[in-house]
């Protein structure tokens, strides 16, 4: 059984008014357990709307989402369970910080889950470990932290609920390179322990190539392609027509190939590119 079964999902904004706009248009997708899915697409392609429907915070105009075989819209009262099972990190999640201390902010989710104070404390510490932050942060006000730290506290607030499916909407946008790398590593660490599904939206092709098992390409509310990063980024011309890009290393390898060298072009990460180039060098010298 797949973790998420999405069929015929559509969303129309402002239905029946002059501002009507079809944001998501008939999406069908099946995601299995422990998969990491990267979603790419130009601004306004409906990525955010799509993922918000997976967590039941937005009700689709039509279509169904099955979470481990259960329709998330069937029972209105069980929506809260869905929120906890499908953790959603919104775009710029640091905007939702509100408490006086970091501890209270991370504890907000687990507290709403109805856990005991002792369990909450355990969850908060665990979440803090996932985002690689020191315990001395717990008593500080979230408003006096740096941008990257705020982002990590906000993400820790979702980790603390221990969701089976983790969705992140552009978790690294607007951060410095080091903070970006940190957050990607935090997510990978959470995934390696929890073994659930991770769905994340990003504008950085490097990040998507680095961690996803499958990449979903969206355009104008529709899914254009679903495949492994290697196959997706192999099709540069098609991506270019959708205002998307490929990782820098893929461009380098493609340039080498265009110069007449025999090299495997399906390369998306720095590691595999290094291997391919070394292979080529050995062949040349040997």
């Amino acid at each position: 059984m797949s973790a998420l079964d999405i069929s015929g999902l559509s969303y129309v904004y402002n239905k029946g008014t002059p501002l009507e706009k079809k944001a998501v248009d008939n999406i069908n997708l099946s995601i299995s357990d422990s998969e990491i899915i990267g979603i790419i697409g130009h601004t306004g392609s409906g990525k955010s709307t799509f993922v918000q429907m997976l967590n039941s915070i937005m009700r689709p105009t039509s279509g169904k989402v099955l979470l481990y075989g259960k329709d998330i819209w069937k029972d209105y009262k069980s929506r809260k369970d869905v929120y906890f099972k499908v953790g959603l990190v919104f775009q710029y999640p640091e905007k939702q910080l509100f408490s006086q201390t970091v501890y209270e902010d991370i504890a907000f989710g687990p507290r709403n889950q109805g856990l005991s104070e002792k369990d909450i404390e355990g969850k908060v510490y665990e979440a803090l470990r996932f985002v690689n932050m020191d315990k001395k942060f717990l008593n500080r006000s979230p408003f006096e932290l740096s941008g990257g730290e705020k982002r990590r506290v906000a993400i820790a607030g979702i980790f603390a609920m221990n969701p089976r499916v983790l969705i992140l909407d552009e978790p690294t946008s607007g951060l410095d390179p080091l903070s970006r790398e940190n957050i990607i590593n935090n997510v990978l660490e959470y995934h390696s322990k929890n073994k659930g599904v991770v769905i994340f939206i990003s504008h950085s092709m490097e990040e998507v190539a680095q961690i996803s098992d499958r990449v979903v390409v969206m355009e104008k509310g529709k899914i254009k392609m679903v495949d492994t990063p290697e196959n997706i980024f192999y099709d540069y011309d098609n991506l270019k027509s959708m205002n998307l890009d490929v990782p820098q290393v893929t461009k380098i390898i493609s340039n080498i190939s265009n110069k007449g060298y025999n090299i495997n072009k399906k390369v998306v990460t720095v590691e595999s590119a290094t291997d391919e180039i070394l292979k080529l060098l050995r062949k040349q010298s040997g």
Binding site: Y13, N14, G16, T17, P18, L19, Q52, N55, I57, M58, K80, Y83, F84, G87, L88, F90, P93, K95, Q96, L97, F98, S99, F108, G109, N112, Q113, F143, G157, I158, M161
Partner: protein
Amino acid sequence: MMGNMYLGQYIPGNSLLHKLDPRIKLLSSIIFMIISFISGNLFSLFILVLSVMLIVIFSGTSFKVYFQSTKYILFFILLSCIFNAFYGYGEAIFKFWIFTVTFDSIKNSVVIILRIASLLFVSSSVMFTTSPNDMSFAIETFMKPLSIFKINVQDIATMITISLKFVPIIFEETNKIIDAQRSRGADLDDKNIIKKVKAYIPVIFPLFFLSFKRASDLAVAMESRCYNDIIKRTSIREFKIGILDILCLVYIIVILIGVIYCNYLI
């Protein structure tokens, strides 16, 4: 949930009303207010309703949208008018317990409903077709005489523009924060009022924080572009009164005269 329709939202478009000068639109709607309050008998009301329908058609927006954005106000007016109809004086059409329905009271209710509905529709048509920037330009023009009392009209106009511009942004931000807290399990739908107020703290705090931050960012941005009250500023758009604007004024004045004439018919 992005961009639900709210009262008086600007809808970009290319209708006749969109092309009118904002000053003319504001002036016309003020004259229209007078028209709707002096039209007292059925003839003048007929003219009033007809002219409102024309304005709605020329605004390029469907009647449905007008009803949608004014439905709550219309509902309350309808309710009070129904009550009004039961407390009439004069010759009774029928009596029931303590209620007396008379021809005059029904007529009164109909007059009030039609007056207020046309007022709402005309002012909505102006709001639908005028962008916040144009609107503040029009308001500034009409407040210019106040500058002899040493009131800085331009500053007030800027304040109005900023407030109008930020309403949809704050609206959207609020919805986003509500969604974010709800997806962390916040109980925002609790029926208990005290619990509900408490549940909204995680929404209100970040909202205040963000609003103050935005205000101070905006102030810095404006100051770094040399915004101050010493220099006389000009508008980025030049407005010229065209043939369409004159036609609009003629239209309104014809209705005004027509309504006054009809008032003396009976």
